[in-house]
Symmetry: D2
Subunit: 345 residues, 4 copies
């Protein structure tokens, strides 16, 4: 398999390289970058010296068609949508790690992203790549919209129960906490080491662009509009997302019942681990790996369900899931290149 | 003023010393410790060398009565309650940083703390030392139950609106995030550096002992039982608490109205800063200081209020507030010894 | 006393404000900034809200002469030297935290800083503000060149023995480790949180601009040129410098003798603590404070002296020492505004 | 291949499991622990859930002989030496990650470790497993003494030039900086998160037990006793060692000459990367990987060589190198199971 990556100098791209250089079915990697053409990737990322010895090239549809079987976009918002319509005319498979194709309504995209994306017709051609929930659809796709980091952790936590009659879908509150790598490689005062270390803050309260992505796929299953509160926070660590979800119960239900429901929902899935009651998940338990660890509490005092979900934002929340999607697309074992133990400690 | 501190080797005590050695009205500091009698504090805490040159002594009521005007308990649960009844017979003023006197029902204490505390009669003699809300009661007290760290951040965030008709008191969700110093000085695997660094987790989901403390003082103002969800999380930093509170609105209300309400509630208070909409609080903005920074969002989409509150858990959440209480008790300027700028960066 | 600060938005300036707002003799603070005129400091640094309510102004000699008694330059290299000649014509006292006046030879400055500074005549008018070594000279100065962070930690470690016959001055190796705040507030990839966290590196090996500053003041005491190796490293923490110094012994000498020599050298100095053999210094022991902690090892196997020195780079290594110099200049108690306990933990 | 690990709950063991579960030639893993017999490893390390499902067993020579081809000791000092003599009577291959067999003189071991090890006869049977320097000897061994973390980084930095006439072997100074995982999993106040975060310190100055190990293998090549200064420091990060080495030059020599010498010394070695002059190594460049990155500076001013070496202390400094040794022992490709990209960021 010949692979191309657009956006070669971002964290998404560099994490794709980590998995692709460890992947049995990948023969060749091309890197595309508009700003760094001609630069060797190991000059940008010295840790890759002697591992991947590739210079970045100009992205053109012609080059892709000639050399690449599957193309990853690891680009900022509003880039991939300019290329994908032309690529859909070819046989190239596309996995887009950006948000451009995750929503089906361009107006909603523009409202939250403050940018433009493709038209509704193109958006409809994308399959949402939540690999542990939609593997069958993904296998058929040409274009995969790889989920956002928060939506991955949140949807894996909520989809097993979102259509159950014992919950109140209007009560959902999602409190997210992320490590700093989620903010990407671009410099800003807020993630300057001296000011981010020993610091935490909420951001984008009520306005984070992952909100409509979560709402869309919850609503798809309930066939009813859903509005959630999603509040992200940034905490002083490089990798890891922990999402705490609160849902009102409308009926008495035991923790065992809910646990069984989750275990059954994920029983075929290699990368979702439903934890026992005594064992709360920690982001370090999934560090550098493609796992999502889930935990359920039924709070009898308040009649609420509390779900905790942890992932590595750069792996299951981005590049690892993208590789999993590539494996599904090509009929490979879903875990190929990904069955690495988390790094601990 | 002559001051005594029981529990001389914990973080609460050492932080008290930082403020007391910078306090104009304090002449003398005595340290009491059962496990470290005879040891100089600077042998336990080398940073105090040449600053405080005191050996720890055995705690006895006699010694206290003879030498001390105000006595701080910076002890684990279920210690102070064994001493305070006898001390209440004397003229000594007492500020208890432990949880022993924060609840008024010993049965509730035992249910959440899994330990014993004083009888209801003694509990009733304590004034709850939330200094920015109850300064007048505090001035009259002999025994002050200094609030917990999470309750301080949470109650300062909720008390201005808890009795308003536009909120649903049954909908309150409190998602707390703390730095590691909140876990104290005792060693445990969970706060071992190599495993806590680059890691976060929820803990005590549905069972944290600060829950009934928060509920008590919310209920006191509404005259109606209140049950909240409180979920604490630990994040890899030493100091700082950020609490995110979610409350359903029962009526349309503008952010400006709520903002004005908060500003008016705290307009005489030196240590509470209500932030503008564009300026989300960060724990580093209060680092090492006695400030609480508050921020309000009204989310029109979901009809919820989101309140963010930050404090330094060891200062406003413990020792700083205790000093503020001491100042109130002695009719001093509330800010004496405490008007230090936060440490930034 | 009326104080002015040039470079109002850097870490040096903000740390000066922390101490000046806690200083009894300071009535008024002016902030000068070329890039942020008209901006309130609390809009740049929200932690200062309600503490210092000052807008930044344009720097002119006229304004300074009219309003300011002592002026701090907390500016990047090659700024202060453009202003100071004119200011030396006035009665204003100047404390320059930049490196512009620390060397006495403009050619050496240019060789290491790759920038221009004042002429030799002006450089000679500056007194080097190593407050714990040259207090008497400092009291007489109009212009103080406040020492660099590494030179402060290093010179305090070496000056007590540099002129002793039992050491080989040609053997000195200085291995420095700094927290990230030493790199300042300007953004760069190297101190981007996601890449600096869980990372350390050496930098400017053999070429750091603090090298000639250290060499100058060692040589001044020995009256012989001295060349040292100085290798700085950056480690993932915000505040703190630890310097490890290696010096060959030319004669057998006991640790006790050396210890006594250091204790005697610093016996009148409030801010230098010479540690016992069993008690190695830690940067956290001086966190946020103006202390320098020193430790001596005599290694009999290799016949070398190993000196460890720790400071807070922003306090003793910059703004704290600058305040100490201001106190000396004005005949105040040297510790005024500075006698705060380190923040621990 | 059937593998056994003694010391199943330490960081060395858990890091071995990360590599062994990703190793093509390994069929079966046994874990031995005296304190945790019967416990499943995923109950100690939840990150291993669904990855390795093994309970810890009692260590007996019989069990090992029956089930295991190669046995790793990842134990504290003075454990492995009690078992290895009996195991040397069998066909089992042994890789000892502890220090027990790294020195050839039991008296030197006792002087530095303050513990007992095997007799000189047994010590002589061990081959020192510095895999990038002694691959041929290692291939023949039954017992491999896997090097310490600091000695690995230091010896890889010094062995290429230790026997050259242009250096002064009596001038060597080694300044080491380590992340906290090097201190292991046992709890202690010094590595309690709240006190280790935002902190650094030197430790074991002049007395660290890795000193004689470094000196032994330097001396072996020069055939002359060598005494070095080795000063370790601990810095607030989990993984990574950076060692800075200072060596006096006795003759004028260019950086290019030294660079060529290093490149030639390591030209066949997959895991040692000699960096260009402009590219200083960072510990994050080798994070989680088996690489050692080296950098050379020739300081003309002081006539000294400065060598910087970085490794991941748990990988190249322990378990990764142990796997590399296992590969060498079994005639496998040296990189099998280890050719993973460093984790970045």
């Amino acid at each position: 398999m010949r692979v191309g990556i657009v956006g070669g100098t971002g964290y998404g791209a560099v994490e794709l390289m980590r998995f692709l250089t460890n992947h049995q079915a990948v023969d060749k990697i091309y890197l595309y970058s508009q700003s760094k053409q001609g630069t060797y990737i190991s000059d940008v990322y010295p840790h890759l010296a002697s591992i991947i010895n590739v210079a970045m090239e100009e992205l053109t549809v012609d080059h892709v068609v000639k050399h690449v079987d599957v193309l990853f976009f690891a680009t900022p918002p509003a880039v991939s949508y300019q290329w994908i319509p032309a690529l859909l005319e070819t046989d190239v498979k596309i996995i887009d790690l950006s948000g451009d194709f995750r929503l089906d309504d361009p107006a909603v995209y523009e409202a939250w992203y403050k940018k433009t994306t493709a038209s509704r017709d193109y958006l409809k051609q994308a399959v949402y790549g939540l690999a542990d929930v939609y593997p069958d659809k993904i296998k058929q796709a040409q274009l995969i919209a790889n989920p956002g980091c928060y939506p991955t952790a949140t949807l894996l936590g909520l989809l097993p129960i979102i259509d159950k009659s014992f919950i109140d879908v209007d009560s959902i509150i999602v409190d997210g906490k992320t490590g700093v790598s989620g903010a990407g490689r671009s410099l800003s005062q807020g993630v300057h080491y001296a000011e981010m270390n020993e610091n935490m803050r909420a951001y984008a309260v009520g306005s984070h662009k992952h909100t409509p992505e979560i709402e869309r796929f919850l609503a798809e299953k309930t066939e009813k509009s859903i509005f959630i509160n999603f509040t992200p926070h940034i905490v002083p660590m490089t990798r890891g997302i922990l999402v705490t979800m609160y849902v009102n119960l409308t009926a008495a239900i035991s923790r065992d019942t809910v646990q069984t429901l989750y275990e059954s929902f994920y029983k075929e899935r290699a990368f979702v681990r439903v934890k026992e009651n005594h064992s709360l998940p920690e982001t370090k338990h999934v560090y550098g790996s493609n796992y999502c660890d889930l935990h359920i509490t039924v709070d009898q005092r308040t009649n609420r369900l509390i779900i905790v979900s942890v992932i590595d934002n750069l792996v299951k929340g981005a590049s690892g899931q993208a590789i999993q999607n590539m494996n599904l697309l090509y009929g490979l074992n879903e875990t190929e290149g990904l069955n690495l133990s988390p790094l601990y400690p």
